[in-house]
């Protein structure tokens, strides 16, 4: 009887001790599943193939991460505005959703080191005369709500003091509006711009110029206080570059050319 109690006590103590120490990284390994928030409306980073399966750079990146952790990946389709609710309500473990690592956002979530960097392009309707990016001044412009380029463009319109900015909820809506002539121009990542011009789904649009923005570094994110996991994510991103997997994924999803340099010269992170 006494022995039973003691054993029971020890067992309880062990369970409690592990429970108290287990962090998110342990939870993921223990559960055997890594749930990634991926935005599947953002080709070529996240999209669906003909049979509706999630594909893209971010999807592969999540699969790689899961493989490194020795668990199975689960892709949770998460529109841009829902990334934080999805994380905070525990529906996903990690965001692999081309999320720009702004200081403002870093007050709420924890970011890894950047795993990708976008250049942005100005795309205009064919009927609009536009020589370069400054041609957007005074025009009706728009971008996908909640993205880095939308934040930049809205700031630009405010600074110009003329023209109109419209954020649409999805990338597809932006290009639909642009193709219809409701928008004169948009700013999107070069990858998205080229994919959409090439696809022919949105007739009557052309790439005008590069947008003069600081490269849009995007990072993986998770709960701000999960240092163990963030630490792992940092190393994982580093390894992806080191092993050449980053260049491989770039070639697969974006095309020929050099993937962007992920380190900022002159400063450490």
């Amino acid at each position: 009887m006494k022995l039973g109690l003691t054993l029971g006590g020890i067992a309880a103590a062990v369970v409690l001790a592990t429970a108290a120490q287990a962090d998110k990284l342990d939870d993921i390994i223990a559960s055997g599943t890594l749930r990634c928030a991926v935005t599947l409306d953002f080709p070529p980073m996240g999209m669906r193939d003909a049979s509706n399966n999630p594909i893209g750079f971010d999807v592969d990146y999540c699969n790689d991460l899961a493989a490194a952790l020795g668990v199975t990946a689960e892709i949770v389709d998460t529109p841009f505005p829902e990334r934080i609710p999805a994380l905070m309500s525990g529906r996903v473990d990690v965001g692999v959703a081309s999320t720009s690592d702004t200081l403002e956002r870093a007050k709420t979530v924890g970011f890894s080191i950047p795993y990708y960097a976008f250049e942005n392009a100005v795309v205009a309707n064919d009927k609009v005369e536009m020589a370069d990016w400054e041609g957007m001044k005074g025009k009706t412009v728009g971008a996908t709500a909640g993205t880095y380029e939308a934040i930049w463009l809205e700031g630009q319109v405010k600074a110009w003091g003329e023209g109109e900015f419209r954020p649409y909820q999805t990338q597809a809506d932006v290009f639909l509006a642009l193709s219809q002539g409701q928008l004169d121009a948009t700013v999107s990542t070069v990858e998205v711009a080229e994919a959409n011009v090439k696809s022919g789904n949105f007739p009557g649009i052309k790439i005008v110029d590069k947008a003069p923005m600081v490269p849009d570094y995007v990072a993986l994110f998770t709960m701000r206080n999960e240092y163990g996991l963030i630490n792992y994510l940092d190393l994982f991103v580093n390894q992806q570059v080191r092993t050449g997997r980053y260049a491989e994924l770039y070639k697969k999803w974006v095309g020929d050319g050099e993937p962007a340099n992920l380190s900022v010269p002159g400063v450490d992170r």
Partner: protein, 221 residues
């Protein structure tokens, strides 16, 4: 709670911007109600007219407005008509969408109200030498609006809430659009939407209370 620290101070500092958004929300709702009521009266007249074309037009309007999602109606008012080369700004698109919806529902409310008004009243008016339009305007319509007054406040509340669909057509100056924008900037999702929810609740409560007061003053027997 779920590993998230609420930062109310940071979120509340955005309150002035959100209240500006609330004004736009109320503006859209009020405009859509004013135009919606006028259109609903017109639709009711079309139905009473006995003209098959006019009646068919009114019935189609009501059917579409009541049996499709408001989101669809607003989306059509923006992207739908644009494929025919007609471009409306996000504000106008949202206003058209909600007004279309309001008119449909209100016309149905008015039809119900008309049922409560004895037909003999119209005939009495006609026997006094009024034209059909005069009999409707002076005798039936005032009673109809009175009976339908509370359902109308209901629709007004609905119009306020429907403004949140403006984000789908690129509106970012209404309460929901402003909140969505701030959310993208700061990721303070829970605080911002909680505040927006409270503002929406307060607006609709004020409308309901105001309507009761107005009704008590206007409709004393």
């Amino acid at each position: 709670m779920f590993g998230y620290t609420f930062q109310w101070k940071q979120a509340l500092s955005k309150l002035p911007q959100m209240l500006d958004g609330a004004l736009v929300t109320m503006e859209i709702a009020l405009l859509s109600m004013a135009i919606g009521i006028a259109l609903a009266v017109l639709l009711t007249l079309f139905r009473l007219s006995g003209n098959r074309v006019l009646n068919g037009f009114a019935v189609t309007w009501v059917e579409v407005a009541r049996n499709t999602p408001a989101l669809f109606q607003i989306y059509m008012a923006h992207f739908g008509v644009a494929s025919f080369g007609i471009h409306f700004s996000p504000f106008t698109s949202l206003l058209i969408g909600i007004t279309f919806n309001n008119a449909g529902y209100l016309a149905e409310n008015f039809r119900g109200a008309l049922k409560a008004i004895p037909e003999t009243q119209t005939r009495a008016g006609r026997s006094l030498g009024m034209t059909p339009l005069e009999a409707f305007g002076y005798i039936v319509m005032p009673q109809m609006l009175r009976i339908a007054f509370l359902p109308m406040t209901n629709q007004m509340v609905w119009a306020i809430l429907m403004t949140s669909l403006g984000v789908t057509v690129g509106l970012n100056i209404d309460l929901y659009g402003v909140t969505q924008d701030l959310n993208a900037l700061t990721f303070r999702t829970f605080e911002l939407f909680a505040i927006a929810g409270v503002i929406f609740y307060l607006i609709t409560k004020i409308i309901q209370l105001g309507a009761r007061l107005v009704a008590a003053r206007l409709f004393r027997y």
